[in-house]
């Protein structure tokens, strides 16, 4: 594959490294399964299962209660149908809500204690990629300190976190980075204060279900004035069959702090559908900044639409403090069905929200994704850059809300929403909702839809690239504004994903 060729390689870069990185191409490269003994809770969901999950995580009573209330609420709700996606009815009683590697019965103290098979899994997932990237000369790599950039990783395997790296070093800086179950035990005051404060338990069907049955996820707290000394990242992996993954992430950036968080997701190839319903809550206090980047590559199903992950995710940031800032960047290439709208509540005056998105849907994939920017404070600003690519018979919908409340004087939004079609059996839809309730705000919306240009492809092919390489190059060019917003740890993986997800889309 040629993806690496599309990265500017700096002078003096070691060719061996470039080649090594290039090796990772291929079809759906994460499609293998780790054979590992699992502990399952019985299939289905009811108050006993909720209690069992809570017990497995050694949670205090208040947490169990919180979950049970959520469950009671969920039982009275109905699944939403407004999204432009279509999938067979999910039997929520036919899903495992808890699966954990047997070797994890005793929580490991450090990565050394983790089952080597698990570690092998994460190694296969390419964690960490940072050195390869620096050597391969990804743009921006030279800004890294000489000894290379560090990425602290929390790895979530099916239902449980299997280990978090660099915890000691982070602790020195005062940063708490651990699994959410550990945070519930060790930092109950923080969890109690913030959990559900951005995405209320009652928010929506999937968020409520998640509140009842979430098994694990990541927790981050950055204390006032601290610039988190390294990138934080979580890799989510669904391995076990018929298992839902319900992770919960909570990130709090206290006054004047900064953190950049990366999230990667993969799953084995299976011909049954699997459910993923995560909730992510971000809280940015005064002058704090959070960058949250996702490379979502859950198994998308095959060309005929068999199998794949249902990805129903609620992600929301509360820019609670004045001058706080949140930036969502997402590269969504996987999943059979995606339903996801990372949003910003711009509550603080002069707070800012940004959303950069690449959503690729190929074959039979369906994506309904976008963002909400809710301007509550004065002089708040938001920026939305969405690049949707549809190929095969896929349907790709951008759904976005920009809302200027009466008190959001001088609010500003700029939205750029571009769709690219490959072939003539796919669809792109743009559904912008705009509400402006004051006179001083300004909302700008630009949208384009185009087809991959035959002249561009012919030009590339005349210079020697095959059709897939040509498409990958042109599409990566189309996505450039968003790719540039990614931390370099993910930029290269994302470029490769763009190419891989479009394989077979032409000709």
């Amino acid at each position: 594959m040629s993806v690496l060729d599309t990265t500017e390689v700096k002078e003096g870069v070691d060719q061996e490294t470039v080649d090594a990185v290039r090796e990772v191409g291929g079809k759906y490269k994460y499609g293998w399964e780790t054979e590992i003994e699992m502990d399952y809770a019985p299939k289905g969901v009811n108050p006993d299962i909720v209690r069992l999950i809570s017990e497995k995580n050694e949670e205090p009573e208040w947490m169990t209660e919180w979950r049970l209330q959520a469950f009671a609420r969920w039982e009275k709700m109905t699944e939403p149908e407004w999204a432009m996606v279509d999938y067979p009815k999910i039997d929520y009683q036919d899903v495992y809500y808890y699966a954990s590697p047997k070797s994890m019965a005793e929580k490991p103290k450090s990565l050394d204690d983790v089952d080597p098979k698990l570690l092998e899994t994460y190694k296969k997932l390419g964690i960490p990629l940072k050195e390869q990237m620096i050597l391969a000369g990804v743009e921006g790599a030279e800004d890294a300190p000489a000894e290379g950039r560090k990425v602290a990783v929390d790895a979530v395997f099916d239902s449980v976190s299997v280990g978090t790296t660099f915890q000691a070093e982070l602790k020195k800086a005062g940063v708490i980075f651990c699994s959410i179950s550990e945070a519930i035990r060790e930092h109950p005051e923080l969890v109690k204060k913030y959990l559900g404060s951005v995405v209320p338990v009652t928010d929506n069907y999937f968020a409520t279900l998640n509140s009842a049955v979430f098994s694990d996820g990541s927790f981050v707290y950055v204390p006032p004035g601290v610039r988190c000394p390294m990138e934080l990242s979580t890799y989510f992996r669904i391995n076990a069959e018929n298992t839902g993954q319900f992770e919960r992430t909570l990130i709090i950036a206290d006054k004047g702090s900064y953190v950049s968080y990366l999230e990667g997701c993969t799953a084995p190839m299976r011909d049954t559908n699997q459910l993923h319903a995560a909730v992510v809550e971000l809280v940015a206090l005064e002058d704090a900044e959070i960058k949250y980047s996702t490379v979502q590559n859950w198994y998308p199903g095959d060309e005929n639409g068999v199998g794949g992950i249902y990805n129903f995710v609620t992600k929301r940031a509360d820019c609670r403090g004045d001058r706080s800032k949140v930036m969502w960047t997402q590269v969504e290439t996987g999943s059979a069905v995606t339903w996801k709208y990372p949003s910003c509540i711009l509550r603080g005056n002069e707070s800012q929200g940004e959303f950069y998105s690449i959503a690729i849907a190929n074959n039979m994939q369906q994506a309904d994704t976008g963002t909400k920017m809710v301007h509550l404070g004065k002089n708040t600003k938001s920026r939305i850059v969405s690049k949707g690519i549809s190929a095969g018979k896929a349907q790709n919908t951008y759904r976005g809300l920009v809302s200027m409340h009466p008190k959001a004087q001088n609010g500003r939004n700029y939205t750029q929403c571009d769709s690219l079609l490959i072939g003539d059996k796919c669809g792109a839809h743009t559904v912008p909702y705009i509400e402006v309730k004051n006179n001083s705000s300004r909302v700008e919306h630009e949208a384009t839809t185009s087809k991959v240009d035959d002249d561009q492809l012919f030009y590339c092919r005349q210079r020697g690239m095959d059709e897939e390489e040509a498409v990958a190059l042109v599409v990566n060019g189309f996505c450039k504004d968003v790719l540039q917003a990614l931390p370099m740890e993910f930029a290269m993986e994302a470029q490769q994903l763009v190419a891989i997800s479009l394989e077979g889309s032409v000709g």
């Binding site: 040629s2 060729d5 599309t6 990265t7 500017e8 390689v9 700096k10 002078e11 003096g12 870069v13 060719q15 470039v18 000369g137 240009d453 035959d454 002249d455 561009q456 012919f458 030009y459 590339c460 092919r461 005349q462 210079r463 020697g464 690239m465 095959d466 059709e467 390489e469 190059l473 042109v474 990566n476 060019g477 189309f478 996505c479 450039k480 504004d481």
Partner: protein, 251 residues
């Protein structure tokens, strides 16, 4: 050597014959020029040779060093050494010029079973070639042809040609839109590439370019055929008298 015999081409979408029996042989190491009135089929010939969609070959053949190019995919023709400097180079937003060049160079090398060029070698190579065409570092970084002036686009085509080192170079009006100095640069670029193993087919309307790139043979194309072939003096004749005399003579 490129041998075109009795080439007939019509549009795929409509019943319109554009090339009506082109016969043309460009020997290895030679420079041939094609002149001819607007709409006579010069660009169409270059597109059909390089494999653009939208045309049907109804008769005839085109053989490059013994290989039937009309049967190949565009990228296979490129790897076989066929290069087209476009009359209207295409813009590719978001893709750096350098990235594009490197992808192209390595794709061709791979197709030919050669080693890819190392990043360091590539950079050295591209800088050297760019310098002689007065293409600065900024133009190498910018997206392919986006916002390039007409002359910059044409120089960029020649840069690509220099990097790819093709065997058969087709230049479609690379001189149009160039100022006097740029024309000289482009001609020097072409002359620097002239060699025993490399052939050129230069499509142009003006004698000016041929002052710099001295052709071995000049053809006149009209209404989808080569109607007259001669030496460099034929280009001078066109320059002074236009096509009327030649067309009347062959009619």
């Amino acid at each position: 050597m490129l041998e075109i015999k009795n080439l007939h081409v019509k549009l795929e979408e409509e019943d319109k014959q554009i090339l009506k029996g082109v016969d043309l042989t460009v020997e290895t190491g030679k420079v041939h020029a094609i002149m001819g009135p607007n709409g006579s089929g010069k660009s169409t010939l270059s597109y059909v040779l390089s494999g653009k969609d939208g045309y049907d070959v109804t008769d005839g053949e085109a053989v490059l060093d013994g290989e039937d190019v009309l049967e190949m995919e565009p990228e296979e023709r490129a790897a076989a050494g066929l290069f087209l400097a476009f009359q209207y180079p295409v813009e590719i937003p978001g893709v750096g010029n350098m990235t594009f060049l490197r992808t192209a160079v390595n794709a061709q090398r791979k197709a030919r079973g050669e080693e890819e060029m190392s990043a360091a070698d590539f950079l050295k190579f591209v800088r050297e070639k760019a310098k002689s065409l007065k293409i600065d570092a900024d133009m190498l970084k910018r997206p392919v042809n986006v916002g390039f002036s007409g002359g910059e686009k044409k120089r960029n085509e020649i840069l690509q040609m220099a990097m790819l080192e093709p065997k058969m170079c087709i230049l479609d009006e690379t001189d149009s839109g160039l100022d006097v100095d740029a024309m000289k640069l482009v001609a020097e670029g072409v002359n620097a590439l002239r060699s025993e193993g490399r052939s050129f087919l230069v499509i142009t309307h003006y004698q000016r370019l041929l002052d710099h790139i001295k052709p071995d043979v000049v053809h006149i194309m009209a209404d989808g055929r080569i109607v007259k072939t001669g030496g460099p003096e034929l280009a001078l004749e066109v320059e002074t008298n236009g096509y009327a005399d030649i067309l009347a003579e062959v009619a």
